[in-house]
């Protein structure tokens, strides 16, 4: 069954392109320390803010401090993807548990848990992060926390809705007669049957998180120099936009490509998992 | 249109086949070369289990198999070929001359339209009559299907009606354009027994009063026995036996027909310790054996059966069977006692 989903997924040409682009970027970002003669910190004083040059020493040029832009962008991808994946995993973990427990328990527990979600929903995100940075200082962990605190809410809502409809299914009743109850029911029967929709939603959450992080970094509340994410690279590039447009265009292009690819992948996954989508 | 000689059947199916393409490329045959005739005013029962192709055969008559189906053969209504007809012509026949009653009355009606509107639409589509005339006709038809207080019903919506009432409305809808043939796909399966017997009685009366011919598809030999004049039994896309109702029940000549009758518990007669049963399960139409499709489950299997599919031949006047075994049946019945 799983391989059927995979083959249906890869049967869609756009999804196949998206998957290849993503695989290439992820691979390059992972292997950049070994692939490149440069690291992301050491400046090349001979070539400050150099324009891209095919066949030259720095293919995509350098930044005003003389650091290789391609390498910087790859390191940026590394950070952005890591944040995207880790924060999404976190939100999936919290969101699925929260939503499945609320939906399965029902009644007052459900009401209370979902009101918590509603309250968190209504917290304005950017001011919230500003307050956090004021209180705790800036840092990578804060970004995880801030993004994690928000992005699980959607998953919790979706999972709760699905759980409510799963609960009506006969096999859940059959499991109760077989003695399964409480957390065992959630773990053995509810969650495995939610995985399809959660996989789709998680694939769509990763780009949202990456974009969130880019926004925070662009506003100066995210990743701090000399570390770079795609967001902070775009922010740096924006300040030199007029004189050195490549500093903005290159990281922005990578950011766009990653987000586009994830969105197509998520969409393809949804089509592949939907049995009505066949034929 | 020229009027055909009276000897010609109302509906004639010749060598009809339906297949569906699969992802792997090979087409899966669900109906394999079926010949059938329906005379005016006749009730023909089409019996078989799920997956035997009976519904697909029914749909092929009105061209509703869906865009992927591969149809072959010939379906003639009063001599007019339907399978090759362009859509516009098919639409004229479909609904007006040949109407269909589906299994589940809950899904056959549009929940957002009143009963009167849905009944009227049939006429507006086929007859071009005024709204007032359509309403009159709708009232008449609701009376014909024994719905009490038809004027009030016209204002109601499907959810306000009970299951049996909805099925009556669905039948009334099929009757709006005064069809000559009614195709009924398991018309009572979704209903309770007491309501089922009401609907069966209604269908019988429709034939008696309006001379409507009925092609009745059912998995339930009881329902067929209640209504049909003639029965065709289908298995794995083929007709395996066809005979008048009494002959078929008294003297089945195909082992599958015999088993179908005996393996359901009955309300009368001695109680067996065990029910006779057919071993195995119906075959997958995508993986049919070369010989007779029923051979693997058959109590009378001969060596011949696994190589050559038997043809449907007339064993005696009006009684057709597709089986190599020529002796009288009875093993299953004997096993009962």
């Amino acid at each position: 069954m799983r391989s059927a989903v995979l083959s249906r997924l890869l049967a869609q040409p756009l999804t196949r392109i998206a998957a290849s682009v993503l695989a290439a970027i992820v691979l390059a970002a992972l292997l950049v320390p070994w692939l490149s003669p440069y690291d992301s910190y050491t400046p090349d004083f001979a070539l400050l803010a150099h324009a891209p040059m095919l066949g030259g020493a720095h293919v995509l040029g350098t930044d005003p401090l003389g650091r290789d832009l391609l390498v910087r962008v790859m390191w940026g991808c590394r950070i952005s993807l890591a944040i995207g994946v880790v924060a999404t995993l976190m939100s999936v973990l919290i969101g699925v548990s929260w939503g499945a427990i609320a939906g399965y328990a029902g009644g007052t527990t459900d009401q209370l848990m979902m009101r918590v979600v509603d309250v968190l929903y209504s917290v304005p995100f950017v001011p919230f992060v500003i307050v956090l940075t004021v209180l705790f200082g800036r840092g990578l962990w804060l970004i995880f926390l801030a993004i994690g605190a928000v992005s699980w809410l959607d998953i919790a809502r979706i999972v709760r809705g699905q759980t409510l409809s799963l609960k009506q299914r006969e096999f859940i009743e059959a499991a109760r007669i077989g003695g399964v109850h409480g957390l065992g029911m959630i773990r053995r029967h509810i969650v495995p049957n939610l995985l399809g929709i959660v996989a789709v939603y998680a694939t769509l959450t990763i780009p949202a998180v990456i974009l969130f992080e880019a926004l925070l970094s662009f506003l100066g509340m995210g990743v701090q120099s000399p570390m770079a994410s795609l967001g902070s690279l775009v922010a740096d590039g924006a300040s030199d936009m007029q004189s050195h447009p490549h500093l903005l265009i290159v990281p922005a292009a990578f950011l766009t490509a990653i987000i586009y690819a994830f969105n197509y992948l998520g969409d393809g996954l949804r089509k592949a998992l939907d049995p009505r989508g066949q034929r | 249109m020229n009027s055909p000689p009276s000897a010609e059947p109302l509906l004639q199916l010749q060598d009809v086949s339906v297949a569906y393409p699969t992802a792997s490329g090979a087409a899966v045959p669900v109906v394999r070369g079926v010949n059938l005739q329906l005379a005016p005013g006749e009730i023909l029962g089409l019996a078989g289990e799920s997956g035997c192709g009976k519904t697909q055969l029914l749909l092929s008559i009105i061209g509703l198999n869906g865009p992927h189906a591969q149809l072959h053969g010939s379906v003639r209504y009063r001599g007019q070929e339907l399978l090759a007809s362009p859509l516009a012509e098919l639409n004229r026949v479909r609904g007006a001359r040949i109407a269909m009653v589906f299994q589940d009355p809950a899904t056959a009606l549009n929940p957002y339209l009143s009963i009167g509107r849905q009944l009227g639409e049939v006429l507006r589509f086929h007859g071009g009559v005024s709204g007032r005339e359509a309403r009159e006709r709708a009232c008449e038809m609701l009376e014909a299907v024994q719905v009490g207080d038809p004027r009030r019903r016209l204002q109601q919506y499907p959810h306000e009606l009970s299951g049996g009432m909805r099925q009556r409305v669905v039948i009334a809808m099929a009757l709006m354009a005064s069809p000559e043939i009614l195709l009924a796909d398991e018309p009572t399966t979704a209903l309770d027994v007491t309501v089922q017997s009401q609907i069966l009685r209604l269908l019988r009366e429709l034939r008696e009063r309006h001379g409507i011919a009925l092609l009745l598809v059912s998995h339930d030999m009881g329902v067929i026995a209640e209504l049909a004049d003639r029965v065709a039994v289908m298995y794995a896309g083929r007709i395996v036996e066809q005979a008048g109702i009494d002959t078929l029940f008294e003297q089945p000549r195909h082992p599958y027909t015999e088993a179908l009758q005996l393996c359901v518990p009955s309300l009368a007669g001695p109680l067996p310790q065990r029910l006779p049963s057919i071993p195995g399960a119906p075959p997958d139409p995508a993986a049919l054996a070369p010989g007779c499709a029923f051979a693997p489950r058959c109590a009378y299997r001969l060596a011949l059966c696994e190589q050559h599919p038997p043809e449907l031949l007339e064993a005696e006047p009006g009684h057709w069977k597709a089986c190599h075994y020529d002796q009288p049946l009875g093993r299953l019945r004997d096993a009962l006692t």
């Binding site: 006969e170 495995p192 | 069966l200 518990p265 006779p276």
Partner: protein, 342 residues
Amino acid sequence: MSSAAPARSLLRVTGLSVSYRVRVGRGRAALLHAVRDVSFELESGQTLGIVGESGSGKSSIARALLRLIPASSGQACFDGQDLLQLQGAPLQRMRRSLQLIFQDPLASLDPRMSAEEAVSEPLRVFEPALSAAERSARTLAMLEAVGLSARYLHRLPHELSGGQAQRIAIARALIVRPRLLFCDEPLSSLDVSIKSQIANLLMQLQAQLGLSMVFISHDLAAVRFACSRVLVLYLGRVMELADRDALFSAARHPYTRALLQSAPLPDPRLVRQRPAAALGGEIPSPLAPPSGCVFRTRCPHAIDRCAAQIPALRRVGDSLVACHRAEEIAAATLTSCAPPGR
């Protein structure tokens, strides 16, 4: 396995009522009485059939006794305990003795669980001390007992036919050796040629394991084959309760008679001999049941008294009947209403 004396009743249900709060229209709620004041006994090793049309409350009885839905009143004495009062650990222990087989086997199996996981799950829960080897041995033995082989162990529900899935569901229900098995329309969704296989299997397993069964069905012929005692339900109330032979040869209640007359007969000659079924109308909404006898709106014998007074379940001949006019009707129609024999 079971050493109970044959005459002792295994389950005694008294005054069971089940009601649901349902939404009618916008925001308004109403109480729907699905089951009202139902009492019956089930002897060890016997099969009780519960017959009724949809909406008669027959599934609600099973679900209330299995504690899947709450009962609003009544007692159900099983093994010296009241099933309806059990909570917590004793309830969990009791679950093991009561199992259920559903109408649609495919819907009752978790789509992501293989046959092996599905069948062994109750063992995992009720006998956690069992070693993995013992568990898989018992699973395989059970699979073989329902007529499947090791080949099916790793199949997912969508890779099974309806009959195979129902066998898996039966194996799952019986693997913990329950004493009482509820079957909710176990044959209805199966193909004709599979029905008799599963019916025979159930009967054979019942005899082998000394099971008691509650067999819920709308199919009178299946009930006649499977059950020793039959309860006829209409709009949540018991109309008639009798031994099989008494019920099928001399039904006392007008509703039971109507049911018997309405059942399609797989024999065209019998169809022609049979009197035209007289029952019109349909089962009324359980939200607004008729006053007095709930069946009176469709009953050909209804009189004024039927609207005023709820008939009590009382002994008439060999049956318990809830009808004011049971004796008159029995006297007027001496011949049985069952179809003539072959």
